[in-house]
C-alpha cells in the first residue's frame, strides 16, 4: 500500500468517523425523538421565563456598554463633528461603513436558514429558524443605524426623502445612496414580518398559558385572536410560502446593492464585477457562523439541549465549510485578476495587503476564513462539538470583519495619484461606536430571546409528526411523510 493510499484512507476514516457515530442512533435526532406537545411547550416557555441573576447581570452590563459606548460616543460625535473620527483625505469611508457591511452580512443568516432551507426541504432547519430570523431583524436595525452614523448630520437625514421642499429640489431617487435605503427598508420590513408570521401560533400557545403580568397582555395582543382553524392554518402556510420565495431575492438584492456602493466607484480594488456575488457569499458565510455562535449560547443559557442538538450544529457547520470554499474561490478570483492584470496602481493594492500596513489584518483574515475552517470542519466530531464550533465561528466573524475593514479602509489608502495617498486608523470614538454596536446587538437579542418563543414549537411538532422509522432489509432507516397537499 502506497503512502498516498494510506494517507487517503486515514483521511477518509477521519472525515467519516463522526458521521457513522451519529447515524446509527436515530433517537439522537430531534425529529425522531418526539415528546408530548405539552412538554415541548413547557420547555420553551420555561426557557423564556428563566431570567435569573446571571441573565440580568449580563443584560445590565450590555445595556451599560450599549449606552455608554455606542450611544454616548455617537452623541459626542454629533456634538463635536466628524473631526473626532480618523477619517481624512483620501479615507472618507472608515469603520462605520465596514461595520454597516458586516451587520448587513450577519442579517443574511435568518433568510438563508429559514427561507432557503425551507424551500429545499432541509428538515433540520425546524428548531433553529426563529433564532436565525431574530438575528436578521436585530442585526438589520444595528446596520441601519450605521448609515445615520456615517453621514454625520443625522438630524437632517429626512432631506433624502423625496418631497418637494422650499429649495425647489427633488432628491434624486436614482442615487445609489437611495438604493441602499430602499433595499434595507424592504429587507427589514420583509424579515420582520417573516419573523412574525410563523410566530403567531406560538404566541397563541404562550397566551393560553395565562402567564400573567405584561407577558399575558403582550401575547394576547400579538396572537391577534388566533384559534388554529383550518382557514387560519391554510392562510398562514400560504403566506409563509410566499414570503419564503419573495424574501430570497430581496436578501440577494440587499448585499448586491451594498457591494455596488463600492463597485460603482473608480476607487482601486473596488471596481470589480464580481463584488456582488463575492459580498453575498461572504454575508451568508459570516451570517451562518454567527447563527452557530448564537445557537450555542442560547442552547446552553436557556437549557435548550432537547431542541438544538449536535445534528443542527453539524448541518450548519457543513454549510459554513462549503461557504468558506466558495468565499475563497471569489476572493482568489478577485485577487488573481488584479495581480495578473499588471496595472501598476492595482499592484499598490496588492502590496498594501501582502506587505503593507494592512498585512497583519489580511493574513489574520486568511487564517480565520480559510485555514481554520478547512482544517477543522471536515471532521464530524468537531462539527458536533459546541466548544470547538464556538471558537471557529467567532474566529470566522473576526475574519469577515477584517475582510470588510481591509476592503473599505484599506483600499482607499492608495489611488492613482500618489500625492494623495494616506493612512487610516480608527479613532477612539469610532472604536467605541463599533464596539458598542456589538453590545447593542447582543442586548437586543438577549431581550428578544426572553420575550418571544425562540423555538418554533409547532414547526418542530409538525416535523416530528412527519418523521418515522422504517425497516428496510436489515436496516432501520428514517422516513419522511409529505403532510402537505
Amino acid at each position: 500500500m502506497s503512502v498516498l493510499d494510506r494517507a487517503t484512507g486515514w483521511f477518509g476514516s477521519w472525515v467519516s468517523r463522526g458521521e457513522r457515530e451519529a447515524h446509527h442512533d436515530h433517537s439522537k435526532l430531534l425529529l425522531h425523538d418526539p415528546r408530548p406537545q405539552e412538554e415541548l411547550n413547557d420547555m420553551v416557555l420555561d426557557a423564556m421565563q428563566r431570567t435569573g441573576r446571571g441573565y440580568w447581570t449580563v443584560v445590565g452590563l450590555l445595556a451599560v456598554l450599549a449606552v455608554g459606548s455606542f450611544l454616548a460616543a455617537w452623541v459626542y460625535m454629533i456634538l463635536s463633528g466628524m473631526g473626532v473620527t480618523g477619517l481624512s483625505r483620501p479615507n472618507y469611508w472608515g469603520v462605520f461603513i465596514a461595520s454597516f457591511i458586516f451587520w448587513i452580512g450577519i442579517s443574511h443568516a435568518g433568510t438563508f436558514i429559514s427561507a432557503i432551507l425551507r424551500i429545499f426541504g432541509a428538515e433540520y432547519r425546524r428548531p433553529i429558524t426563529r433564532a436565525a430570523e431574530m438575528m436578521t431583524t436585530t442585526s438589520l436595525i444595528v446596520a441601519a443605524s450605521f448609515l445615520g452614523i456615517h453621514v454625520g448630520r443625522v438630524w437632517v437625514a429626512y432631506w433624502i426623502a423625496p418631497y418637494p421642499n422650499q429649495r425647489g429640489l427633488w432628491p434624486n431617487y436614482h442615487s445609489p445612496f437611495l438604493w441602499d435605503e430602499m433595499a434595507i427598508v424592504t429587507y427589514l420590513v420583509g424579515s420582520t414580518l417573516y419573523l412574525y408570521l410563523p410566530l403567531i401560533p406560538d404566541l397563541a400557545m404562550a397566551r393560553d398559558r395565562n402567564l400573567g403580568g405584561w407577558r399575558e397582555k403582550v401575547y394576547r395582543a400579538l396572537a391577534l385572536g388566533w384559534q388554529g382553524t383550518e382557514e387560519q392554518w391554510h392562510h398562514l402556510n400560504l403566506a409563509i410560502k410566499i414570503f419564503s420565495v419573495v424574501i430570497i431575492p430581496v436578501m440577494f438584492s440587499v448585499h448586491t446593492i451594498v457591494s455596488w456602493d463600492l463597485a460603482m466607484t473608480k476607487a482601486l480594488g473596488w471596481r470589480s464585477t464580481i463584488f456582488a456575488p463575492y459580498f453575498i457569499v461572504g454575508a451568508v458565510f459570516s451570517g451562518l457562523s454567527a447563527a452557530i455562535s448564537v445557537l450555542i449560547i442560547a442552547r446552553s443559557s436557556m437549557k435548550l439541549e432537547y431542541f438544538i442538538r449536535e445534528e443542527h450544529l453539524n448541518g450548519l457547520a457543513r454549510l459554513v465549510l462549503i461557504f468558506s470554499m466558495v468565499w475563497t474561490y471569489f476572493f482568489f478570483a478577485d485577487f488573481l485578476t488584479e495581480w495578473y492584470g499588471g496595472d501598476a496602481a492595482g499592484h499598490t493594492i496588492i502590496q498594501l495587503q501582502v506587505s503593507g500596513p494592512v498585512a497583519p489584518f489580511w493574513y489574520a483574515m486568511l487564517f480565520f476564513n480559510i485555514v481554520v475552517p478547512w482544517l477543522t470542519l471536515w471532521n464530524g466530531r468537531i462539527r458536533r462539538s459546541p466548544k470547538a464550533l464556538m471558537l471557529i465561528t467567532i474566529g470566522i466573524n473576526v475574519g469577515m470583519y477584517l475582510e470588510r475593514y481591509i476592503i473599505v479602509t484599506g483600499f482607499l489608502r492608495r489611488n492613482q495619484m500618489p500625492f494623495s495617498w494616506g493612512d487610516y486608523a480608527p479613532s477612539p470614538v469610532e472604536i467605541a461606536i463599533v464596539f458598542g454596536s456589538l453590545c447593542t446587538f447582543l442586548l437586543f437579542y438577549a431581550l428578544l430571546s426572553r420575550a418571544i418563543p425562540i423555538i418554533p414549537v409547532w414547526e418542530v411538532r409538525e416535523g416530528q409528526l412527519s418523521h418515522g422509522l422504517r425497516r428496510l432489509g436489515r436496516a432501520t432507516v428514517p422516513t419522511v411523510t409529505e403532510l402537505e397537499e
Binding site: W170, D208, L224, T229, N237
Partner: protein, 184 residues
C-alpha cells in the same frame, strides 16, 4: 372562504357542540361519521395546534384569495415605482450634462425594490384581512388546543344535536360540551 368559523346564522334554532381528540385518526373517522349523519362540512369547524391539510382530514380544500392579493400588491408596487422613479424626475427635472433624466438600470433596480416591498406588505395585509385579524370578538376555543388536542365544533339544528354528540362519542372524543364564546 367558507363561513365555518363564523358560527350559525340563527343561534335560536341551532346548537353548537364541541368535542376534542388527541389523535388524528379518530378525528378523521368522527368527521366521516358526522357527514354520514347528514351534517355538512360547512357546519363543522376544526381547530388544531398543527396545520393538518384537508386531505388528511378528508375535508374539502380551502379556497383563498391570498395569491391574488399578493399579485395585486406587486402591481401596486410597480405603479408606485413608476411614479417615484419615472414620473417625479420629469416633474422636478435635474439636468446633468450627458445623462438622461431617467437612466434605465437604476430605474429597474428601484422599481424591483418597490414591487417587492409592496408585495410583502400586501401579502401580510391580505393574511390579516382574510383571517379577520386582529380580532377581539368572542370565539369558540379550546384552551387545551396547544397541548396537542384537535377540536371539532359542530353547528347543527337543535334537533340534530344528539346525533352530533353520538358521532363524537363513538370515536372517543373527550370533553364533549356546548361551548361558549370567549375573548382570545
Amino acid at each position: 372562504m367558507s363561513n365555518r368559523q363564523n358560527g350559525p346564522v340563527d343561534p335560536e334554532s341551532t346548537a353548537v357542540v364541541m368535542g376534542s381528540f388527541t389523535e388524528i385518526e379518530p378525528t378523521a373517522d368522527a368527521l366521516d361519521e358526522l357527514r354520514g349523519r347528514g351534517i355538512a362540512d360547512e357546519q363543522i369547524s376544526i381547530m388544531s395546534s398543527l396545520p393538518y391539510s384537508p386531505n388528511i382530514l378528508g375535508r374539502p380544500s380551502v379556497r383563498t384569495r391570498l395569491p391574488m392579493i399578493s399579485l395585486t400588491s406587486a402591481i401596486v408596487g410597480l405603479l408606485a415605482g413608476i411614479f417615484f422613479v419615472i414620473v417625479t424626475p420629469h416633474l422636478y427635472i435635474i439636468r446633468v450634462g450627458g445623462q438622461p433624466i431617467v437612466p434605465l438600470p437604476p430605474t429597474f433596480l428601484l422599481m424591483y425594490e418597490f414591487i417587492m416591498l409592496l408585495l410583502i406588505v400586501g401579502t401580510f395585509g391580505g393574511f390579516l384581512a382574510l383571517n379577520h385579524f386582529p380580532s377581539s370578538k368572542p370565539k369558540y376555543y379550546d384552551s387545551k388546543l396547544n397541548d396537542g388536542r384537535i377540536s371539532l365544533v359542530v353547528h347543527v339544528p337543535a334537533g340534530q344535536k344528539a346525533e352530533a354528540v353520538a358521532a363524537l362519542e363513538a370515536h372517543g372524543a373527550v370533553d364533549i360540551h356546548e361551548p361558549e364564546r370567549r375573548e382570545l
